[in-house]
Symmetry: C2
Subunit: 643 residues, 2 copies
C-alpha cells in the first residue's frame, strides 16, 4: 500500500480519512522498522519510533517522490539523525520509494543499500549521515543550491535532540539567517533522551533560546499528532525566515518497554519484547520468523541502491591566461583570475551551472574577492565557521551547483576533515581550494602551517588533490578542476613563485596523475611536490653547472597518484629524492616508496620534507631551517652519490 504524497501543501486541513490512513501507516512503519532491527539484532528502535509521525508528515508534504527523486528540481529532505534509519526506510516504503520486503530483510546487511545509518544511495535520502550535527549544514547547502538554481522549493531537515549541542549546528543556523533563507525548515525530535540518559542531565542545552538567539522562528507541536505536525509545517513554509519546529515526542512511542527510556536507543529489544510490541501494534507475528529464515540463508542482497554521481557542470570557459617567464606571481592569484573569469562568463546564465563560492572571512587572502565583486549573489560569506561551511559547500554541490570553498589550508581542511570525509562518502563533488599550504604561510607560525593536506586527503577514497607548481599550471589545473566532476582539492602556497617555461608553453596540457619530467639526467632523480619544483630545478641546474651532475626532476602535481612509468624510470638512476614542504611521513614520499615496494623497484631513496613543527618566520627562512632549499637538496644529492 502506498500513501499519496500531498506534494507541496496543496491542502487546507487533513481529512479524517487522511488521518486514519496516516495512523495506519505509522503503525505499519513501527512494525516494519522494529522487525528490521530485531532481524538484524542491531539498530536504533526507540528513536525510530519517536520520529515516525514526523517522517510520515515531511515525506507526505514535500515535493519529493519516487518519480522526481533523481532530479534536481524538487524539495530536499535531510535526515540528520541518521541512526533512525529503520524508521526512515519503513516510511520511504509507505510512499513507494523502496520495497519494504527488501528493507526489512536486508537491513544492516553487507551489500544492501539499507545501511545502519541512512545513505544517499537510498532514493528519498539526500545526504548520508551518521556523524551528528552535520544535517542542518547539509540542508543549508541544498537551500542555497535551490536559490542559486532559481528553483522555488523547500528543504526539510529532521534532527534528534541529543545532537542539538553540536557546535556545527549553531554555525549552520547563522549562515541560514545571514543568507535570509526562507526555504528551509528544521524539525527536532524532542524526545529528551540520548544514550547516557535524559538530555537535560547529560548536557543541558536551552534549545528554544539558542535557535531564537540565532534568528530562527521557533514553533512547538506534538510530534505524534498529524494535525499539529501538518499545521506547523504549513506555517513554517509560509514564513519569510528559517523556521524550526520542536516536535515534542515520546522516546520509543507505542513501543511498550522502549517508551520513555534511553535503554533502547541503540539496541534491539530482544524477542520477548519484540513480540509484545508487535502484538500491541496489531502486527503479523510470523513476520520475524520469515526474516530470520531469509537472513540465515545468507543470500547477498540484490538491491544495492541507486548510483550517486557528482554533477557534470555546464560551463563556458574563457581563454587561458599566460604568465610569461620574466615575471613572478603567486599561484593563488592565478587561481583567482580563472575563477573570476569563469564566474563572469557564466553568471546568471540560463542552463549554465551556477558557481557558488564560499568564504570564511578570508576572501582577500584566498583571492575570491574579485569573484564576489563580479558575481555578488553567488558569493556566500559563512564567517569563521569552518565546520558548517565544509558541509554546506558539499551539499550545495550535491544540490546541483558548482560549489567551491576557498580557505587557508589549516582552516579549510585540518579543521573540517570529518566534514570533508562525509562529503566524500556522499560523492558530493564539491571543490576545496586551499591557500597558504605547507610552510608557505608566512610568519604566522606553527599553528597555521598546513603540512598535512596530502596526508589527510589520502585517508579518503574519492578526493583528488591538485598542487600546481606555477601560475601557468595553476591556470590550467583550475580550469580542469572546474569542469571535471568529483570532489577535488586545489592546494597552493602564499608566495610569488618563478614561472616554469615548460608550463608557459602553449602546447602544455595538464594530465591528471602524470608526473611531469622537467629535467633529464642519469645520476639521480628528484620528485618535487607542486611549488617545490622550482627549488628542485634550481638544484638540478646548479648541480649541472657546478659539478656536471645530471639529475632528473619530476614535478608532482597529483600527489595521491603514483606515476609508475616515471618512478620505474627514476629507479634506474642512482637515487630517488622526494622534496616537499609537507610532513615528510605523509606527503609524496610514502606514495613513491609504496609504488617502489609493490613494483619491486629499487634504488637509493631519501625523503626531504617537514620533520617537526615549523618555526615562525618568512616562508623562505622557515624552509631554510627545515633544510628545504636549493643547497639542502644539493647536499643530499652529493651524500647519496658518495654512498
Amino acid at each position: 500500500m502506498t500513501l499519496k504524497n500531498l506534494n507541496g501543501l496543496n491542502f487546507n486541513k487533513l481529512s479524517e480519512n487522511q488521518i486514519t490512513e496516516l495512523e495506519q501507516a505509522a503503525k505499519r512503519a513501527r512494525i516494519n522498522s522494529l522487525t528490521m532491527i530485531q532481524g538484524a539484532n542491531s539498530g536504533h528502535p526507540a528513536g525510530a519510533f519517536s520520529s515516525i509521525e514526523m517522517l510520515l508528515s515531511v515525506y507526505g508534504l514535500a515535493n519529493l517522490t519516487p518519480e522526481n527523486a533523481d532530479s534536481f528540481d524538487r524539495d530536499n529532505i535531510i535526515i540528520s539523525h541518521g541512526h533512525v534509519s529503520a524508521g526512515v526506510y519503513a516510511v520511504l516504503a509507505e510512499y513507494g520509494f523502496v520495497d519494504i520486503e527488501d528493507a526489512v530483510k536486508n537491513f544492516r546487511r553487507c551489500k544492501s543499500a539499507f545501511q545502519g545509518h541512512v545513505v544517499r544511495e537510498v532514493p528519498g535520502i539526500d545526504w548520508s549521515t551518521g556523524n551528528l550535527g552535520q544535517g542542518l549544514s547539509a540542508g543549508v547547502g541544498y537551500a542555497l543550491a535551490q536559490r542559486a538554481r532559481n528553483y522555488k522549493g523547500h528543504v526539510y531537515v529532521l534532527t534528534g535532540d541529543g545532537g542539538q549541542t553540536k557546535g556545527q549546528l549553531a554555525e549552520a543556523r547563522r549562515v541560514a539567517v545571514n543568507e535570509k533563507l526562507n526555504n528551509i525548515t528544521a524539525l527536532i525530535d524532542l524526545n529528551e533522551h540520548q544514550i547516557c540518559g535524559d538530555i537535560n542531565d547529560v548536557m543541558h542545552c536551552n534549545i528554544k533560546a539558542l535557535w531564537e538567539a540565532d534568528g530562527w522562528y521557533y514553533i512547538e507541536c506534538n510530534g505524534h499528532d498529524f494535525n499539529e505536525l501538518f499545521d506547523a509545517i504549513k506555517k513554517a513554509r509560509e514564513l519569510d525566515s528559517p523556521c524550526v519546529i520542536a516536535c515534542k515526542t515520546v522516546m520509543g512511542k507505542f513501543g511498550g518497554v522502549m517508551e520513555n527510556t534511553s535503554e533502547y536507543h541503540g539496541k534491539a529489544t530482544g524477542e520477548k519484547n519484540y513480540y509484545d510490541i508487535i502484538k500491541s501494534l496489531g502486527g503479523d507475528e510470523n513476520l520475524l520468523a520469515s526474516v530470520n529464515d531469509y537472513r540465515k540463508k545468507n543470500l547477498i542482497p540484490e538491491y544495492h541502491g541507486r548510483l550517486i554521481k557528482p554533477i557534470e557542470p555546464v560551463l563556458e570557459f574563457g581563454e587561458r591566461f599566460r604568465y610569461s617567464p620574466d615575471i613572478k606571481t603567486d599561484n593563488r592569484s592565478a587561481f583567482g583570475n580563472v575563477l573570476t573569469q569563469t564566474g563572469e562568463l557564466n553568471y546568471k546564465k540560463t542552463n549554465h551551472t551556477p558557481i557558488l563560492v564560499f568564504d570564511c572571512d578570508l576572501a582577500p587572502s584566498v583571492m575570491t574577492a574579485n569573484f564576489k565583486k563580479s558575481c555578488p549573489d553567488n558569493f556566500i560569506q559563512c564567517g569563521i565557521q569552518e565546520h558548517a561551511t565544509a558541509t554546506i559547500s558539499g551539499a550545495a554541490a550535491a544540490g546541483g551547483t558548482l560549489s567551491l570553498w576557498a580557505d587557508f589550508g589549516m582552516f579549510g581542511l585540518d579543521e573540517a576533515y570529518n566534514q570533508h570525509r562525509l562529503n566524500d562518502i556522499n560523492n558530493a563533488g564539491n571543490k576545496l581550494v586551499l591557500t597558504h599550504t605547507g610552510l608557505d604561510v608566512g610568519e604566522d607560525g606553527e599553528t597555521h602551517q598546513c603540512i598535512d593536506y596530502v596526508g589527510l586527503m589520502r585517508n579518503m577514497f574519492g578526493w583528488k588533490i591538485l598542487v600546481p607548481a606555477d601560475p601557468n599550471q595553476t591556470d590550467l589545473i583550475t580550469r580542469w578542476m572546474l569542469k571535471t566532476p568529483g570532489c577535488m582539492c586545489l592546494a597552493m602556497g602564499r608566495s610569488k613563485v618563478d614561472v616554469i617555461p615548460e608550463f608557459y608553453d602553449e602546447d602544455y596540457k595538464f594530465e591528471y596523475g602524470k608526473a611531469v619530467k622537467l629535467r633529464s639526467g642519469k645520476s639521480g632523480s628528484i620528485f618535487a611536490l607542486g611549488y617545490m619544483t622550482q627549488t628542485a630545478l634550481k638544484a638540478a641546474d646548479k648541480l649541472k653547472a657546478e659539478s656536471n651532475i645530471d639529475v632528473s626532476v619530476y614535478c608532482v602535481s597529483c600527489p595521491l597518484e603514483a606515476d609508475i612509468e616515471a618512478i620505474t624510470e627514476a629507479a634506474e638512476t642512482n637515487f630517488i629524492i622526494t622534496l616537499e614542504d609537507h610532513h615528510v611521513r605523509t606527503g609524496i614520499a610514502p606514495v613513491i616508496a609504496m609504488a617502489m615496494a609493490e613494483n619491486n623497484l629499487h634504488t637509493k631513496f631519501k625523503k626531504l620534507g617537514v620533520s617537526h613543527y615549523g618555526l615562525s618566520g618568512s616562508s623562505q627562512e622557515v624552509r631554510k631551517f627545515m633544510g628545504l632549499t636549493v643547497d639542502g637538496v644539493i647536499e643530499n644529492v652529493n651524500e647519496l652519490l658518495r654512498k
Copy 2:
C-alpha cells in the same frame, strides 16, 4: 620598568597612581607592539591595540607571575585570539615575564619564542593558539584541572569577537555550566571588526543572548577603562557561575589610521603611519631604526622560549589482569578494567595525580561507565560536543591531571583532528582512547568506520598510537600509557577476540616500537596491525598445516614506528604482506614500504587493507567483503609464492 602584579584581587579600588601607571604601561605596550609588527613587516596591530587594557588588567590581577609561571598552583590565562601576540608580548614584558628588547627585535623570526601566534613556550602563556574558537575549551580544561587538584584558583580566557561564531565555543560554554564551574571568566574584545569588515555584516551573532542562553553570567564594560575592567573582573570572580565580560573596545584604539577599520587586522601599518602613531603616543622615534638594523644582521635569536614537558603522573598501579587463552573478550573491556582499577587506587589520594575521564555520551560502549561509578567526581560528561572535548581534555592534561577521553574512533579523532593537532603543538600529554576502530564497529556502516586513525595521527609529530592485539596486551599497554608522559592514542575494535598465548605469558613485557614476532618462517612474512594479528596467526597456522608453508607473523601494536630489525629480517623472506583493517594507503603499509626504501631492503610486497568505504554489516561480514580474512590472506600468500 615592571608593573606590580596585584595577585588575586587583594584590592578595593585602583588608586589614581595605579591607574596612571597602567595607562603609561598601555602606552608603552602599544609602542612596543607596533614596533614589533613594523620591524617584522607582518602581524596583527589593530586587534593588539584594542586588547591592550584587557591584557594589562588580567595579567595584573591574576595569580600568575614570572616566579610561579612554571608551576601548577596558580591562575591560568588563555589568549584565544592568538594573533594579538604582539600586544601580549608587550604586556608580558610589563609584568616581567619576558625581555621587551628581545620580543621587539625577534618578533616573528625563526628560532624566536615570539611567534606570530602565541605559544606556550613564552612564560605567561598557557595555551598555544592560532586556530580560533579553541581558547574557551582550553580554559575549561584548566578550570577542571584546578578543581580536580583541589586548587582554588581562577582561569581567564581572552577572546576576540570575530571568533564568537565558532561552534566549539558554544560547546565549551555548556560544559562549563554543566560542570558548575565558578573558576572561569571569559573576556571578549568587542571591537566589532573582523577581516572582511564589521562583524555584524560578515556574520551576525547575538553574543549576549548566546552566552546567556548557555547559562553564563554576562557583564559589559568599557574595555579601555581600567576601573571598569578591574571592577568587572572582581565581580566575575565573586560569582558562583561562569562569567563573561564583554569589553567594548575600539579596533586599533589610539592607533590613528587603524582606529575603527578592519584594514589593519593582519598587516603592518607601513612606516609613514607607524611614525604618525608613535609620535602621537610619545614614543621613541629611533626605536624602529635600531630594530631594523638588528634584523638586517640576521642573527639567530638567543631566546627560544621555555621547554614545555607533559606531566609525569604520580600514580599507584595494581596487579595486571590476566585473560586466559580459553576465553574471548574484547580489548575495550580489558582497557576499562585497568582504568577502573587505577582510578580506584588513586581516587582523591593526596599527592597522586588526579585521573580525569571525559565522555561524549558513549560511556557504556567505551567502557568508562565503571570508572564513573567508582570515581564520580573525576568523570566529566561533555555531551555530544567532540570539538570542545578534545581541547578540554588536552588542556586538563596541561593543567596537571592525567586526562583521558574515550570515544568511538570516528568521533574521538576524525571529528576532532585539528583539536588534537593543537594538543600536540601544546605538548599537552593527554590520552585519547578510541574504540570501534577500523571495520570493527558492527553494523553502523561507512560513516562510523574509523579506518584512518593511523593515517591521521601520522601527520603529527608528538602523538604515539597503540593498537593492542588482544586483552592481555591491552592490559599492559593501557598501564604503560597511563604512566608514560606524552600525547597517546589507544585504538581498539569492538569485537571479542582470541587471546594470544604469548601475551598471556607472565614474562611478556610491552616494549614501545617493537613488532612482536609470533611465528617464524622462511617462506614469507606478515605484519598485522593490532587486532588483525589473530587473522594472520590463523592464516599462518593453516598454511603450515595444509601446505607446509612457514610464514613469519609480526604483531604491530605501534603503527607509527618502523621496527627496522624486524623489517630487515622479513625482507630476507620471499615476501612481506601487511594486514590491517585500516585504509590500505595510510596504515602500516606505507611505514613498512618507506622503511624498505630508505634501508634499501627488497622482497615482494603486498598490502592488504581497506580499499573502499566499508559496507554495513557485522564486523566479520564487512571484513570478508574486504578480503581481510584467513582465506584472503592465504590466497595472497599463495599468489605471491607463485610469482
